[in-house]
Structure formats: C-alpha cells, structure tokens
Symmetry: C2
Subunit: 240 residues, 2 copies
Amino acid sequence: MLDQTKEINVCLSPALIHLHDIRNSIVVVIDIFRATTSMCYGLANGAEGIIPVAEVSTCAIYKDHGYLLAAERNGEVVDGFDFGNSPFSYVSEKVNGRTIVLTTTNGTKAIHLSREAKNVVIGSFLNLTALCNWLRRQDDPVLLVCAGWKDNFNLEDTVFAGAVINKLKDSHQKGDDAAIAAENLYLAAANDLADFLAQSAHSKRLQHLGIQKDIDFCLQVDLLNTIPVLKGDRLVVLES
Amino acid sequence: MLDQTKEINVCLSPALIHLHDIRNSIVVVIDIFRATTSMCYGLANGAEGIIPVAEVSTCAIYKDHGYLLAAERNGEVVDGFDFGNSPFSYVSEKVNGRTIVLTTTNGTKAIHLSREAKNVVIGSFLNLTALCNWLRRQDDPVLLVCAGWKDNFNLEDTVFAGAVINKLKDSHQKGDDAAIAAENLYLAAANDLADFLAQSAHSKRLQHLGIQKDIDFCLQVDLLNTIPVLKGDRLVVLES
C-alpha cells in the first residue's frame, strides 16, 4: 500500500546537504567504493564499533589506546596507518572484537555532515535488502546521501541510491528530481552493474591503483544483513 | 574522429560550480523551464540584447530608460514588471529591436556564476542542433551548467545536457560521472521527452501555475538556429 506521507529524497553531493531537511529524516550514507561497504563488512565480521573521524590528525590521536586505525586519502592507505578502506582489511581475523577509528576522503565526511539526522545508517550493495526492509518499517522520510568524490557527483553512489528507491517504490514516494534520476540510472545499470559502473571516474581511479578486486567485492548484492547505525560517536550494529 | 583532448563535463547545480574549471571552458548555461528557452526565442525574434541581472532590485534600476524589464521569481512574474520568463512574452511583436533586462530565479544566477568562462553561450531544446554544431567546431572543453532550482538538481536541465553530450559523442569525451549520468538520463527520456519530464518537480510546479503550454513550448527541438552568447553585460546573437 502506498503511504504518500513517506518521502525518499537524494542528496547527490555533500556540498548540497544544506538544501535538505536532515533533522527530520533517516539518513543513509552511501560511499560504495569503498568506505560504506567496508563499514558494513567490518561490523558484520565482529568489529565492536567504527568511529568515523573527519581528519587524519584526529585519527592519529587514538594511537596506542587499543584501537585499530584506518586512514585513506585519494584511494590509498595513509602512511603510518594500519589500513585504509579496502574491504579486505575488514575480515574477521583483523577486526573481530576491535574498535576501528576510520577517516576516508568522502564517506566519513558525509557521516559528519549527517549527524543531526534522526538516524544515520550505512548503505552498501552488501546490505541492500536488509537496509530496505528496515527502512520500509520506519515512519520517517528517508534521505539518501551520496558521499561522492570531493564534493563531485559520482555514479556508483547514485546508482545505489536508485536501487534503494526502486526497492522502496511501494512504500515511499520520490520527493525530488534527484530521486527520479537515481532510479532511472539504477534501471539503466541493473542488467550489468559491474559493466555500467566500470565507466565511472572512481572505478578508473581504483583500477589505476590496481584494486579491481575491491571493486568486484563492493558490487556483491546482499552478502550480509548487518546495518551499521550511528550511536554517539560510533557506528555499531543496528539491533532491529 | 574522436579528439581525446576535448572534454565535456556537467555541473549539476550552481552550488557545485566551484568544482569546475570555468576559465578554460566554454560554458553552456541551461535553464529549460523557461529562462534559457526564452532567451533563445527572444533573440531569434529580433531582440537586440538581453541583460541578465541577478536581483530584482537591479532590474528595477533600468526602468524608464527604454528597456523592457522582465522579472520572474518562483515561476511567476514579479509585480510591477512587464513580463517574466514565459516564452510567449518573447515574440517578435514584443521584443523586436528592444533590449530586455531579465532576472530569473535560477537561470540568470547561473549566467553570473559562469561569466569568467572563455565563452558563455545559452542552450535550450529550441537551438539544440545549432548549438552542438557550433560546439563541435570549437577547440576548448565544454562545461554544461544546469541552472537547477534554487541550487537543487533538476531533471529537465540534466536531460538537455545529456542530449548535447549524446550529439557530441564523436567529438567530445565525457570527462566526469555527471556527464555519463546525464547522457543515460537523456537516453531514458528520448523516446518521449514530454512524458519523461512530466515527472519533474518543476513541471509539476508549472502545471500548478497553469502553464502547461509553456512546458510544451520549451520541449520543441530545433525550432531555431540562434545561439545567444554573453558579450560584456549582455546576451547577443552569436555570429558564427
């Protein structure tokens, strides 16, 4: 049944977030390559929490206090840190029982800009269906925040936003043109997600860094049911 | 022949324009409903020039100096002005031989933000092919600036950007993810442009104002060959 009171909107870049009603929305932060994928995977693999921080220097403050430190800039691990945002660093042998402090080029910034929301949850293809099932049961409008690349629009985050919109089409109405566009892009991409997204600027950037396997990993749909949610300063597993 | 040195990029909102290399680009300003459509139509109908100004108060300064004053805000003619941005106000009986001073909610703002470009030209479905034929002959990269709606992404400007990209696919390479997205949206819309754009927020806004005929007018493809170009403070007909 179509509940016309539940809107879903899309913020295509962190630089446009001031145009949206954050405080009254559930925000889904999306950074497919690779931050939000790795957050879902790390929590599913037993990490106790992930503390997103905006700056590398803030991340460094947590050194020698038992945290795993992760810092990525421009697609690469920052010198002196345990790891960056490759999902292959977030396997259970490395993260089980640990708390990770993480800073990334785009994803952690988008989380910080969203923190006034009613709820901040984390989306990736890995938890797509679980996330949509949960969103469908909530009463508040949904804002899908694409982390983009240095404030630029990107294809993979928008296509994922479109996948969520398409899955929620019976419960949520598209509130803005960005939602209409995102769903159309998803429909254009759905037949062969990997092929469609291979055109994207960030895919090319990652290919250049020799991490095609990270891209393939990030495009796996419904690998897990974990939904990270922001509680205070950290992401933890949402108990639904 | 594909000249890999000529890039085409898309700025999806005036709020993202700082991310782009304006100074080294030819900028095409796009505000399909209705500012840039009316600019093309007015110059084609013999207007001597169109002076885009950012503020209603600036527009008012030109009063009693022989100019036609046009001011639109939120889709309506501002009280006390000759007309707004409906294309039906830009017919030759009204504009031939006249200079128009124009301020609109989005289009004139986008022109102002673009004025450091190598060239600022004006695009609409009315002059699509003429514009693309001219762009194809230029050496500089192209930036398509979507005026949007109060800094929000909009569907009709992006679909038009996609039409330009699609027409230039043999001469220009897509430089950013926004260009890839715009072309895909155009391809989704091309079969029935009016039907696809009827979903858009601004279409609904204009329908609400009772100006469906303006929408239909703005979606006419290749009605004219006129390309408005910014020279100093005004738009005039590009002599190509």
